[in-house]
């Protein structure tokens, strides 16, 4: 994505979060008809946001531990 596409994606992401979860994907597709790449990115962001998990923090924490005990 370009910076411009990213900023569009971000705004759509925040707007979509205001909607009921079931309505978000279709709303996003309608909101950016000319740019399927942005729509896909936003839908994937929404999916990631909705999925539980703290894997980034865990991965970094585990790497810190390995570094400190190496």
């Amino acid at each position: 994505m370009t910076s411009q596409q990213w900023h569009t994606a971000e705004n759509l992401f925040h707007s979509a979060l205001e909607l009921p979860p079931a309505d978000r994907a279709s709303w996003v597709e309608e909101a950016c008809p000319g740019d399927p790449a942005v729509a896909t990115a936003v839908i994937r962001m929404l999916e990631a946001d909705a999925s539980p998990g703290d894997e980034i923090r865990q991965v970094i924490r585990s790497a810190v531990k390995q570094w400190m005990t190496a």
Binding site: F13, S51, V59, I60, A63, V64, A70
Partner: protein, 202 residues
């Protein structure tokens, strides 16, 4: 914070806390050379903390938040808290932690590829058998990709994850409201997690 007599010679900090405070203020005022002077001080202190922990409390590790707080206390020890200075210090420590972990994991992988490993004790062998998670490299790569689209949010996530900074601390560094930081972290983290799932589609 530590029991008496723990690795005293290694624990002594040679750096004048006032000097660190001054450098932080200079950097915040726009003097890039102050950051260059600060970085090696923080780096060496992070390594000292890691090594002194190792000597006394083997296998006990700190999380990123605890690490950056500890290095700040050791280097600055200020009586009057200057929250903006402290947050900027944490930012430096977060950047360094990212660099240290990426270098460490690359080295570990290179050693494993290198063959010629010396004979290992069972304990060491168990450590080697648990590979460093390459995901830190993926996170690093993803943050580089994010930085191309949006350098500020890449910095925000770096502070959040590699330094464990709070929204308030990040807000001090970026000169914005904590509410905006929280909002940015949510969007950028969602992008990062999607990227980690399949980078080619993000």
């Amino acid at each position: 914070m530590y029991g008496a007599g723990l690795c005293d010679s290694a624990m002594v900090t040679q750096v004048d806390p006032n000097q660190v405070t001054l450098l932080l203020r200079q950097w915040r005022a726009g003097d890039a050379s102050a950051l260059e002077a600060l970085t090696p001080l923080v780096y060496s202190e992070l390594r000292i903390i890691a090594r002194s922990r190792l000597a006394h409390e083997r296998r006990l590790a700190l999380n990123p938040t605890e690490l950056v707080h500890e290095v700040f206390l050791r280097l600055v020890r200020q009586d009057q808290p200057d929250w903006a200075n402290r947050a900027h210090f944490y930012y430096i420590a977060a950047r360094l932690m990212r660099q240290i972990l990426v270098d460490f994991i690359r080295e570990t992988h290179a050693q494993k590829r290198g063959g010629e490993l010396p004979a290992l004790s069972l304990d060491d062998a168990l450590q080697v058998a648990q590979p460093c998670d390459p995901s830190v490299l993926n996170i690093h790569e993803a943050l580089n990709a994010l930085a191309e689209m949006d350098p500020r949010k890449a910095r925000v996530l770096e502070m959040r994850f590699f330094g464990g900074l709070t929204a308030e601390e990040i807000a001090q560094v970026e000169n914005m409201s904590p509410v905006t930081v929280t909002r940015d972290v949510r969007a950028a983290t969602a992008w990062l997690r999607a990227w980690l799932t399949s980078p080619e589609r993000s």
